[in-house]
C-alpha cells in the first residue's frame, strides 16, 4: 500500500538561486523536501538573461497593478473589502515573493512596465466604471494569464514561482466569481 500522494515539496525560497536538496523520507513515503539555498557555481536553471530581467520587471509591474486595483476596488465597495480581504493579503505576499525573485529590478523599472492590458487600475476603473467585483475579477484573471505566460519564458525557481502565483490567482478568480 502506498502513500496517498507523492508530493515533492518545491523550493521554499524562490528568490534564492542555486540550490541544495535535502531529502526527507517519512517511512517509505516519497515525500521530498527541497530546500533552496545559495550555492553559487555553474550556470543553472535559475540563471537569467537580460531579457528575462526585463520580463521579471514587467511581472512585478503587473502584480503591483493588481495590488493597486484591489485597493481601489475595496475602497469602492466595503462589502467586497470585507469579503475578500484575504485576497489582498495574498496579492501582497505574491508581490513580495516576486521582488525577492528579482532583487536587481528597481521599483521604477517595475512601475514603468505595462500591465496585461497596458493600462493602470485607475484607467480601468474609469473605463469600466460599473461593478468593482467584476472589474477586480477581470484584473485578477489578466494578471494570472500574464504570470502564466511569463512562466514559460523562465526555468527553475522563477518558473515555479510565476506558475504558482498564476495558479493561486486562478483560485482567487474562482472565489470572486
Amino acid at each position: 500500500m502506498g502513500a496517498m500522494s507523492t508530493r515533492p515539496a518545491p523550493p521554499r525560497a524562490a528568490g534564492t538561486f542555486g540550490r541544495r536538496t535535502l531529502l526527507l523520507v517519512a517511512g517509505a513515503t516519497p515525500l521530498l523536501g527541497v530546500l533552496a539555498a545559495c550555492t553559487g557555481g555553474a550556470p543553472d536553471a535559475d540563471s537569467v538573461t537580460p531579457a528575462q530581467v526585463d520580463r521579471l520587471a514587467g511581472q512585478l509591474g503587473v502584480q503591483e497593478e493588481l495590488v493597486a486595483a484591489g485597493a481601489l476596488a475595496f475602497a469602492a465597495s466595503p462589502e467586497l473589502a470585507a469579503a475578500a480581504a484575504t485576497l489582498a493579503e495574498q496579492w501582497q505576499q505574491q508581490l513580495d515573493r516576486l521582488r525577492r525573485a528579482a532583487p536587481s529590478v528597481t521599483a521604477s523599472a517595475a512601475s514603468s512596465s505595462t500591465g496585461p492590458a497596458g493600462s493602470t487600475p485607475a484607467e480601468d476603473t474609469s473605463a469600466q466604471g460599473g461593478d468593482p467585483r467584476a472589474d477586480l475579477r477581470a484584473r485578477v484573471a489578466a494578471t494570472a494569464e500574464s504570470h502564466a505566460a511569463a512562466c514559460l519564458d523562465f526555468t527553475g525557481a522563477r518558473a515555479a514561482l510565476l506558475g504558482s502565483i498564476a495558479a493561486g490567482l486562478r483560485g482567487h478568480d474562482a472565489v470572486l466569481a
Partner: protein, 178 residues
C-alpha cells in the same frame, strides 16, 4: 504544508520510489535542475501524484451523496487525463511510467462529506505541489506549459473543496510553494 503525504504509509517500494530515488535516499531529480533527467524525474513524481488523485477521488465520491458527486466526476476525469498524458509523455522519451499502487493509505478516516472535501482538497494540493515542482525542474517549454495549466486547474478545484470543507483560508498566495 500538509497533505496526503502525511498519512500512514507502508514499507513497500513503489514505482514512484524507484523513479524518484526516495527509497534509496537520493533526491528526486538527480540531474541538474532544468536537465532532461531532472525533468523526467519530476514528471514521474507528477504521475505518481495523479495516480493517487485518481484513486483518492474514488474514496471522495463514495463518501458523498449521489447528488453531490458531480464535481468528483469532473475532477477525476481531469486527473485521469493528466495521468494518461504523463504516461504517454514519459513513454515517448523512453522512460517507464511509474505504475499506480494497488491501494493507498488514507491520511485520515473519511467518514463524512466534510472529510471527503478535506481529502479532495489535499489530493489537489498534492498534485499542485507536484506540478509546481515540474515547473522548477522542467527543461522544455512544452512541459512548463502542461505544468502551469495543470497546477492552475488543481488549485481551482482545491479552492472549491476547501470551501466545502470549511477550511480557511480557501485560497493560497503561492500554492505548491507554501
Amino acid at each position: 504544508m500538509t497533505g496526503p503525504a502525511s498519512g500512514p504509509t507502508s514499507g513497500s517500494t513503489s514505482g514512484s520510489e524507484r523513479s524518484s530515488g526516495a527509497a534509496t535516499g537520493t533526491p528526486t531529480g538527480t540531474g541538474e535542475p532544468g536537465s532532461t533527467r531532472a525533468e523526467t524525474a519530476a514528471l514521474q513524481d507528477a504521475l505518481a501524484a495523479e495516480h493517487a488523485a485518481v484513486w483518492g477521488y474514488g474514496t471522495v465520491g463514495a463518501a458523498l451523496a449521489a447528488g453531490e458527486r458531480a464535481p468528483v466526476g469532473v475532477a477525476a476525469e481531469a486527473h485521469r487525463d493528466l495521468r494518461d498524458r504523463l504516461a504517454a509523455l514519459l513513454t515517448d522519451r523512453g522512460a517507464d511510467p511509474v505504475p499506480t499502487e494497488a491501494a493507498y493509505a488514507l491520511p485520515f478516516p473519511v467518514l463524512s462529506a466534510v472529510d471527503a472535501a478535506r481529502l479532495a482538497a489535499q489530493l489537489e494540493d498534492g498534485t499542485t505541489a507536484a506540478w509546481v515542482w515540474v515547473l522548477d525542474q522542467a527543461a522544455q517549454r512544452a512541459v512548463r506549459e502542461l505544468a502551469v495549466g495543470a497546477a492552475a486547474g488543481a488549485e481551482v478545484r482545491a479552492v472549491a473543496w476547501r470551501q466545502r470543507a470549511g477550511v480557511t483560508p480557501v485560497t493560497a498566495a503561492t500554492p505548491g510553494l507554501d
